[in-house]
Amino acid sequence: MNQTVASYLLQYEPVQQLLAFLSKLLGFNAISLLYFLIFALAILAAVGFLSLVGGLGTYAERKISADMQARIGPNRVGPYGILQFLADGVKMLLKEDIVPTQSDKFLFYVAPMLCIVGVFGTIAVVPFSSGFTIFDFNVGLVYLIGISSLVGLGVFLGGYGSNSKWSMLGGMRGASQIISYEIPVVLSALSIVLLSGGLSFSSLVKAQGGWPHQWFIFHNPFTFVGFFILFIGSLAETNRAPFDLPEAESELVSGYHTEFSGMRFGFFALAEYIEVFVVCGLAAALFLGGYNVPMNLGGDGLIGQVLQLGSFISKTLFLYYMVIVTRWTLPRLRVDQLMTMCWKYLIPISMVNLIMVGLWMVAFDGKSIFDLIFSGASVATGTGH
């Protein structure tokens, strides 16, 4: 509850010596200054890592789609084209930034900012590992859902501000798609909170064990369905894969960010790729046992943190790979199919899911299906002989 990376690092000897040195140097107790320094470093590391993941995401996407279509993909810039995303970034910085005359200057400035602020706000609560989560907020899950709804607003204002019919339609579709798919995501996250009994990411992850059979995805059949609803919902929420209607190249000339050029468009793309990582991290933390390591190897020491970090990132990157693969395998949905699927299929199913998980909690006192089988088997064998 409310533990932060700074309070975690304070357990270590060198950090306490630094604190003693600082407070002696400045006279007053420099605990909050030290908190600030540790937070600044942790945030720079997290933002750097996530923009690297965002950049490499574009590279990975082009490479994976290339070899799925038997072509080579970018291999000019750097070894095997690794530095392609740096070249794209520099190009975006140097391209001319055209703001059409009738469009709204203020909204052109605010829309990418809302997207970036919405995504950066979520970085604070992403559960990298038990110690390295920047801020394990007591209501972290609700905070993540609230802050990431800013992106939907940014998408809409981007479309509305550029005053062209195409991007207006794209902005409208994007915003209504993002907000309507937020409900199945929230309802399936609620069923997990029901099982784990707390809203902070540490309680959500600690309620699961390291071994796959202790993950919530296999806890009971309803959470198994809930995982796929969350995955589909988060695909739609980040305008990815079969739901990338707002930026549908064929119809809307790349939708809401048609008029954005140069670095403004770069912010939309960066925000989208970082949000895909954050949303995959959410799915991994809720359903795939987050940063739990089997048999709790390495405990809570620094080695344990690194192992937990590795476990969380490998699960998230596996989901990231699934997102990229689904993009190049499934055709795009029409608007009405998209909305019908959300309102008439996903939301009723996730409501039934939530009720049935509650019933499962009451009936089996929160035990997972494997516990029941094992305890059932042991009772059977117990009474057997």
Binding site: N2, F137, N138, I145, S149, L150, L153, I179, E182
Partner: protein, 178 residues
């Protein structure tokens, strides 16, 4: 030290956002500044130790009400400020001119008088001698919602049902024309 920074920045965001919401000419900019003000209020809730109410403010207000307002502005043909009505008269501009603001400020001053009058006995109220430390509030709210306030919890679902059905009927495209 950081308590002061968080309070001042949230209060500043709230008040600057509110002033701009009521004074800016373009309605869409007013909605964006309302968003800034609501984020400020969420920050104020954090400084008051109400962490759950702050994030619910984020989810419901920032993620719902402002999006709905922006949709409504879009559907009413954006900022059509100076449209003359059927009789060709350009009435008072929709975003208010000097006259409307003076009326507003005069009446608001009256309201302020009554508020200050009210506050005299608020200050006389007995207050907590020692302000409690910040502690997580979710479980307390949850238990009170399920325990003492269970009736309010159930009635609010009936209220939401009424709002949903009513608004759906009103905004359903009618079969006949006007």
């Amino acid at each position: 030290m950081f308590d002061k920074i968080l309070f001042i920045s949230s209060a500043l965001a709230t008040i600057v956002g509110a002033v701009l919401t009521i004074s800016v000419k373009n309605i869409m900019h007013a909605a964006v500044f309302l968003l800034l003000s609501l984020l400020g209020v969420a920050g104020l809730y954090l400084t008051l130790g109400a962490d759950f109410v702050a994030v619910i403010q984020l989810v419901v207000y920032v993620g719902g009400v402002v999006v709905l307002m922006v949709f409504a502005v879009m559907l009413t043909a954006g900022s059509s400020g100076q449209k003359a009505n059927r009789f060709g008269l350009v009435k008072i501009p929709t975003m208010g001119n000097f006259r409307t603001y003076t009326i507003g400020i005069v009446f608001a001053a009256l309201v302020l008088m009554t508020i200050i009058k009210l506050y005299t006995n608020v200050f006389a109220m007995s207050r907590l001698a020692q302000i409690p430390a910040y502690s997580p509030t979710v479980s307390k709210i949850g238990i009170s919602l399920v325990g003492t306030h269970v009736l309010a919890f159930e009635i609010s679902s009936v209220l939401l049902l009424g709002a949903l059905v009513g608004a759906a009927i009103v905004s359903r495209p009618r079969r006949e024309n006007r």
